[in-house]
Amino acid sequence: MHTEHTIETSAERQNRHKAMEAISVINALREDFKSPIHSMGYFYDLFEKVYCHHQPLHEGKAKIGTMCIQIPSEIIYALDGVPIRLCNGFYTDDEIGGDLLPQKSCPLVKATVGWFASDNFSDKPDITFSPTTCDQKTKAGAIIESFGHTVIDVGFPRTKESEESRHYWRESVKSFAVKLSKFQGKKLTRSNLESAIKKVGYAQSLYHKLTEFRKNKAVPILGVDMFLVTNAFFFDKIDEWISAVEKLVVELEQRASEGVNVAGKASPRIVYTGSPPIFPNYKIPLIIEQSDAIIVADETCSSNRMFNDMVAVDEWNLYDMIDSVSDKYLKACTCPIFTQNDDRIRRIIQLVRSYNGDGVIYQAFAGCQVYEMEQRSVLAAMEKEGIPILYIESDYSPSQHGQLTTRVEAFIESLKNRKRMKK
């Protein structure tokens, strides 16, 4: 009766776990919502290819790992590398990392460390640059280095208003460019940096086009689809990403003209903020959109914050371009690691106003101290503005799904009531 089976290796087992996590999200996106978008198929297939079948995308290319949003992709592309953002959303890796880091640490950091610890990549980074943004990421860099990976710190200031910080960061970016240039054996030139800035800028302009549609009364694209599109930018071939998004823009134009709405008529419009949704940890965004609300905008480093502000170049000289690139990654950033952080509150209010939001959902990963610490001030500011807000703490584990759903549903229902009362 009991037959002989072969037993998976630990890498195979881990890949199966990740595939199981990935496929459930991809299936939810494919199946759980009305009016699916045809050109989203590219992205569903891409994630399935990479996370269920573990296919490499960049064989033969230099893969430059980045540990946060602040490492300029423009410089990596200019130096002929492929930026791979290693912020990780897998519970499987979170559990592996949990054995190496304190239980109370941020799941994103644990998952990233777990990924390196298992050394199981479809596109393994050849070198990784870690900006010293939050404490946990900074310390994680050193731990990852101990597994035998090359991790280089890129000094990042914790204040952004001062001229000293700006100067410090500009020097940091220059030093990063020099190190990468050496590693790649290639010179950063006026022409390769200019074309990289233009390419990344074009990708951003496409993102802006997508977000414009979300201001419409009938919203033609789900927030979770938007997160998937922006998360794909973490690791996809940029030219393929661009052409897929171009097609998406065309389809959304068509849908907008036909008034296609992925949400219901009464669905509350949510602005999402806090710790970043990173595939496949779409737990909260999925609950929101499965509970008859629609995410119309976000303030997170996996989407809006990553794409919002563009590099503004005055003079197309090499050093001017580097300074402009640096400024974009410092001045425009609304990460809560900064001390004076009124920008973030301003940005959230601005998003609520311009996307006609009915409420804000603020999600912090348990262990992500900066978001946890800042929530009180954000809640107070929203209250002052009369914007309803729900604060949720979660992690990567699938187990709290029932309780979280109840909280989110109750909030969404209260927003619906509010809307009806207004009328």
């Binding site: 087992r13 199981m20 199946e31």
Partner: protein
């Protein structure tokens, strides 16, 4: 001849084992607990003895175990299923080697037991969340998929895609997850293998709480499901031993204990 009876009254089934003086299994019987399990237990025992041609007077010591053990008043002694399971597993796996870790999935709970070199229970862990990942759960799954519980294994090995995980730890919510997957036209094969892996992941977490030491023994009704066995082996990363009759380990352990108890009593 003198015989020893172990009777295990579980939530789903009554298991009875009869051992001889050498602790060898002479016969066993499994019947549904039903609504009057005291009566059913008595009847089942009488039937089994009749089938084996054993006169009631030849049964010299009876030990009851399982969550209904206290209701079987004829027993000379009763012991917890953890101890009975440990004793039975070691006896049943004698030809295989020294058992160090036991996984037991029953009708309504799952357990991991860790043994020392002498075979004593040093640690054990039990699921703390209702029927998630138990035999009952597999029944519910099979019912929702409109297949027999004994077919689950075949479906598991036919799965070609990625197993579709079930994240709910509650059998009731899991049911709605499965219905959702069916509604979206996923193959029964991928759902079944997903269910098996979801249970296996949960059980392996439980096992890790007591520490995984080889050899690992797996019993309880769900151990008849080869698909689940394979899933647990993959999650653990090594082979597990499943006895010929995985459902009766605990009652067999009770019978072995009955034998030991009787012999030590008569020696004194």
């Amino acid at each position: 001849m003198r015989y020893f009876v172990g009777i295990d009254i579980g939530s789903t089934a009554i298991k009875i084992s009869v051992a001889d003086e050498n602790k060898n299994l002479v016969g066993h019987k499994i019947s549904a607990s039903g609504s009057m399990f005291y009566k059913y237990a008595q009847e089942a025992l009488a039937e089994l003895l009749k089938e084996l041609g054993i006169d009631e007077s030849e049964v010299v010591y009876t030990v009851a175990t399982g969550y209904g053990r206290k209701l079987f008043k004829e027993a000379d002694e009763n012991i917890s299923e953890i101890t009975a399971n440990a004793i039975g597993a070691q006896q049943a796996a004698k030809s295989y080697g020294n058992i160090k870790t036991i996984i037991n999935i029953g009708g309504q709970d799952s357990k991991a037991i860790s043994l020392d070199a002498e075979g004593n229970v040093v640690n054990f862990a039990m699921n703390d969340r209702c029927a998630a990942g138990t035999g009952k759960f597999l029944d519910v799954v099979a019912m929702n998929l409109e297949i027999g519980v004994d077919e689950l294994s075949d479906y598991h090995f036919k799965s070609k895609g990625t197993p579709l995980s079930i994240s709910s730890t509650c059998a009731v919510f899991a049911e709605s997850e499965i219905i959702g997957l069916l509604g979206n036209n996923h193959s029964v094969e991928d759902i079944v293998s997903g269910v098996h892996y979801s249970i296996a992941k949960r059980i392996v977490k439980l096992v890790k709480r007591v520490g995984v030491k080889e050899n690992v023994y797996f019993d309880g009704g769900p151990a008849l499901n080869d698909g689940l066995v394979s899933a647990i082996e993959n999650e653990l990363g090594h082979k597990i031993f499943v006895p010929e009759y995985p459902q009766i380990t605990t009652s067999y352990g009770a019978a072995v204990l009955a034998c030991d108890a009787f012999l030590s009593e008569s020696a004194s």
